[in-house]
């Protein structure tokens, strides 16, 4: 180049100049401020107005918060300490934090139980929420509901354990048969679960539990082992149903005929007297017992969490089922779904809660105790699932018809098409809507304070504000509630945004 112009141009620079730093006003903090805060006169004015507004807000609230009193026994004492200054009286939180979190009747020596359940909730939720984690962790997720129930409500571990066993039995049957025929697996699973629950009900009863006295346990364990061996032997060359059936039959025969005789032999061998009907032996219901806590003793933020977590997790599968039911080609299923969704959506939640609390009391015979939390969970779940069903229906409707046709052309049946092609896409579209419903539902759990359940807001409105000591403390208590709810709801919202980014496979 330079050669070519050497004769016509006096000077040609042969090397590039080092880049000069940008002007001070365009770089660093100043540059950022010029670009973002003071780009135009209008922007500058808005910035200054906003800063002034924030300043006003902080000067009004910060001294109130930072100068708050944490140690006092009553509002009157707070006011004495403050001597006319305006500051928060956080002493109410210091004194009543346990009531705000756990309700006023949960025994304080057992606060660790819901505490552990809360921590384990994250462990259990992690593999569901973050699908990069090892799938084996899902086993703990499956155990968690029963573990949490046992921790929070207490009582014997066997009721939740047998309940879980019923689900396992149902799942095994479904796994075996569901692959060939969805309906057979589904209903077979339900029957298996019911059988297990019926059997466990007998085992939990007084006569059943003596079987688990030392000798009985050994005798029955032998029976179970024999049944297992029979199953394993038969499994190879017969239908699974015959293998399972013969194994069960063998165990029942063993348990009814052989075990009682064996029990005496073992008892003689071990020198244990079972003439007293096994009363001295350890019975099933003595093992793994936590001090039981009644449902009506639950309260505070724990109650909000229980209701929120349970109802969201239950309403999601129900909502999916309803949404698919609404699109079903079977008229009866479609009508049932439509009527359910439209009816529930047309009724305010508070009405459903009143039905759960008040009206059911008239229909149930006097003295029946149908757990109030269970009633409320059923009502809130119904309510939420109707909304989620509509959100998911939106997702289903947004899918191009070609997706359904593609699934059909591949020869997939309805269950396979839904599971493999339609739902993964429809659910992805529905995430913002589902999260919206979940956040709303979580906040709606405070409505139970109207039907005399002492959730966080109920505790504040009722017992704490009505105590002689703290009558008149509004801001501190409701701010505390707001902070707790904000943390939870903001967390849910952040998760959903992460999920949307993670699942973004299209190129927009």
């Amino acid at each position: 180049m330079s050669e070519a112009h050497a004769h016509s141009v006096a000077f040609v620079r042969e090397s590039a100049l080092p880049p000069a730093p940008p002007p001070v006003t365009e770089a660093g903090v100043i540059g950022w401020m010029r670009q973002n805060l003071f780009a135009t006169w209008a922007n500058a004015l808005l910035t200054i107005a906003a800063i002034y507004f924030i300043y006003l807000l902080l000067t009004a609230t910060l001294p109130w918060i930072l100068g708050g009193i944490w140690a006092a026994d009553s509002l009157a004492e707070c006011r004495d300490i403050l001597e006319g200054r305006s500051a928060a009286c956080f002493a109410v939180l210091a004194e009543r934090w346990n009531q705000l979190l756990f309700g006023f009747k949960y025994p304080d020596e057992y606060y660790w139980r819901p505490g552990i359940a809360f921590i384990l909730l994250f462990v259990a939720a992690a593999p569901v929420l973050f699908f990069d984690l090892p799938r084996k962790l899902l086993i703990f997720t499956a155990i968690y509901p029963f573990l949490a129930y046992w921790l929070i409500w207490g009582g014997t571990i066997w009721s939740p354990a047998f309940a879980a066993l019923g689900f396992v039995a149902g799942y095994v049957i479904f796994d075996v048969y569901g692959k060939h025929n969805f309906a057979a697996g589904f209903f077979g699973g339900i029957v298996a679960a019911l059988v297990v629950w019926w059997l466990s009900g007998y085992l939990m009863s007084a006569e059943g539990s003596t079987l688990f006295s030392g000798p009985g346990l050994i005798a029955n364990a032998l029976g179970a082992a024999a049944a297992l061996v029979a199953y394993l032997l038969l499994r190879k060359n017969t239908e699974p149903i015959i293998a399972v059936g013969s194994a069960l039959l063998l165990f029942v025969v063993w348990w009814a005929v052989i075990a009682p005789a064996l029990m005496f032999r073992i008892a003689l061998l071990l020198g244990i007297a079972i003439a007293d009907g096994g009363a001295s032996a350890i019975t099933l219901s003595d093992i793994g017992v936590l001090e039981p806590v009644q449902s009506r003793d639950m309260g505070g933020f724990m109650l909000n969490m229980i209701l929120g977590v349970v109802c969201v997790s239950l309403s999601l599968p129900l909502g999916i089922a309803l949404a698919m039911g609404r699109q079903s080609s079977m008229p009866l299923i479609r009508w049932i779904s439509v009527v359910f969704i439209e009816f529930i959506r047309g009724v305010p939640l508070i009405t459903l809660l009143f039905v759960a609390n008040v009206v059911l009391a008239y229909f149930l015979p006097p003295g029946t105790t149908f757990d109030l939390i269970l009633r409320v969970i059923i009502m809130i779940t119904m309510f939420a699932s109707a909304y989620i069903a509509e959100v998911i229906r939106g997702g289903l409707a947004a899918l191009p018809k070609g997706q359904y046709e593609a699934a059909n052309s591949l020869g997939l049946d309805y269950a396979q098409a839904m599971r493999l092609i339609i739902l993964p896409q429809a659910l992805k579209i529905s995430i913002p809507g589902i999260v919206n419903v979940s956040v709303g539902l979580f906040k709606d759990t405070t409505l139970v304070s109207i039907i005399t359940m002492f959730d966080l807001v109920g505790m504040i409105r009722g017992p704490i504000l009505a105590s002689t000591d703290w009558n008149g403390v509004y801001w501190e208590l409701f701010s505390f509630a707001a902070v707790l709810f904000f943390i939870t709801c903001y967390g849910i919202s952040q998760y959903s945004q992460w999920l949307e980014r993670r699942l973004a496979t299209d190129h927009r």
Binding site: A361, P365, T368, P463, T468, G472
Partner: protein
């Protein structure tokens, strides 16, 4: 399996229904606890303390009944009820008695099929004004703006009172007591009206309670009392005479401090002896132990002691006895004789 559970539930329900028919008193004894309906929280009347133990004036009645029937003042299962759920809870048998500052009115007694067993607090609607307003009687409130909860009997009472006295007012409708407090303190209305006990507890929460006065006029009758279901007179008698025992104990000078000593042996006063069970068989007539009233008084003291401890002049609520003094002191408390 479903069927057997269902039948089992029916059997249990049938047994329970049979037991309910056998009488609330027997039910309570068999159960070992008294199910007592209270408010979800009303300052001085019922609220759990920092340890979760229910305290308050209405709670005192529940505890006295539990002590009289079961011998243990703590054998009470407190069932919190709201204004909307309280009557359902009682009618459905969820609670044995309701002690929830409930006004005794004709329709509740007759139409709703409840039995008010007496009055434990004579309340009435009053007015609170800032001292700075310089008003000393409600009749001087001509043209005032009045904060009033909508949809309550207080609203009707207010209209009646101003019409009767031929003066005018401007209502400022509010929804809740907390809202009323804010509006009143912000100066949105000259005066706030609700039950006098409510005004007193509201004022107790003010930063400067001394700047506000409750006017002497009480413009309505609000007798608050415990109630039970219609048709179980034995149980009604038990609750009624437990309340009467507390009132009579104050009249006779029996307190939680001296009740042990006085009930140890028969004294000079025949009525005290009959009440405390050292003479006669009043307890047997009720189907209770002879010392039922002694245990009721031990639970929290006599009526006056319960009053002073929870809502009396030495508490932040600071209610004077007023109408709730013994008849001998010019009040309305008048227990029928124990004879």
């Amino acid at each position: 399996m479903k069927k057997s559970v269902f039948l089992g539930a029916l059997t249990v329900a049938g047994l329970a229904a049979g037991a309910a028919a056998a009488g609330t008193l027997d039910d309570v004894k068999a159960r070992g606890t008294l199910n007592c309906g209270v408010t979800t929280g009303l300052v001085g009347f019922a609220a759990p303390d920092a340890n979760g133990v229910w305290q308050g004036f209405d709670v005192g009645v529940c505890r006295a009944v539990a002590a009289a029937v079961l011998g243990d003042a703590n054998a009470v299962e407190f069932v919190p009820t709201t204004g909307k759920t309280r009557f359902t809870a009682l009618a459905s048998g969820e609670i044995d008695m309701l002690a929830r500052n409930t006004t005794w009115t004709f329709s509740r007694d007759v139409d709703l099929k409840f039995e008010f067993i007496g009055t434990n607090y004579y309340d009435g609607q009053g007015f609170m004004v800032p001292k700075a307003l310089g008003v000393s009687s409600a009749k001087e409130l001509d043209g005032a703006t009045v904060c009033i909860q909508t949809g309550t009997t207080t609203e009707l009472n207010l209209a009646d009172f101003f019409r009767k006295n031929n003066i005018s007012y401007e209502p400022v409708p509010i929804e809740t007591s907390a809202e009323g407090q804010q509006q009143y303190l912000a100066g949105a209305c000259d005066t706030y009206t609700t039950d006098a006990s409510g005004l007193a507890s509201l004022r107790a929460a003010f930063e400067k309670p001394g700047d506000h006065v409750i006017l002497p006029e009480i413009i309505s009758k609000e007798p608050l009392g415990p109630l039970v279901r219609h048709g179980d007179n034995e149980w009604g008698d038990t609750v009624r005479w437990t309340l009467n025992a507390l009132i009579a104990a104050e009249e006779m000078g029996i307190t939680s401090a001296n009740v042990t000593e006085m009930s140890a042996k028969a004294g000079d006063s025949p009525e005290v002896n009959r009440l405390l069970g050292t003479e006669g068989n009043l307890g047997e007539m009720l189907g209770l132990d002879a010392d039922w009233a002694t245990k009721a008084i031990m639970a929290g003291g006599n009526y006056g002691e319960i009053f002073e401890k929870n809502i009396g002049e030495n508490t932040p609520i600071g209610l004077a006895r007023g109408l709730n003094a013994q008849w001998t002191d010019g009040g309305l408390l008048y227990s029928p004789p124990f004879r």
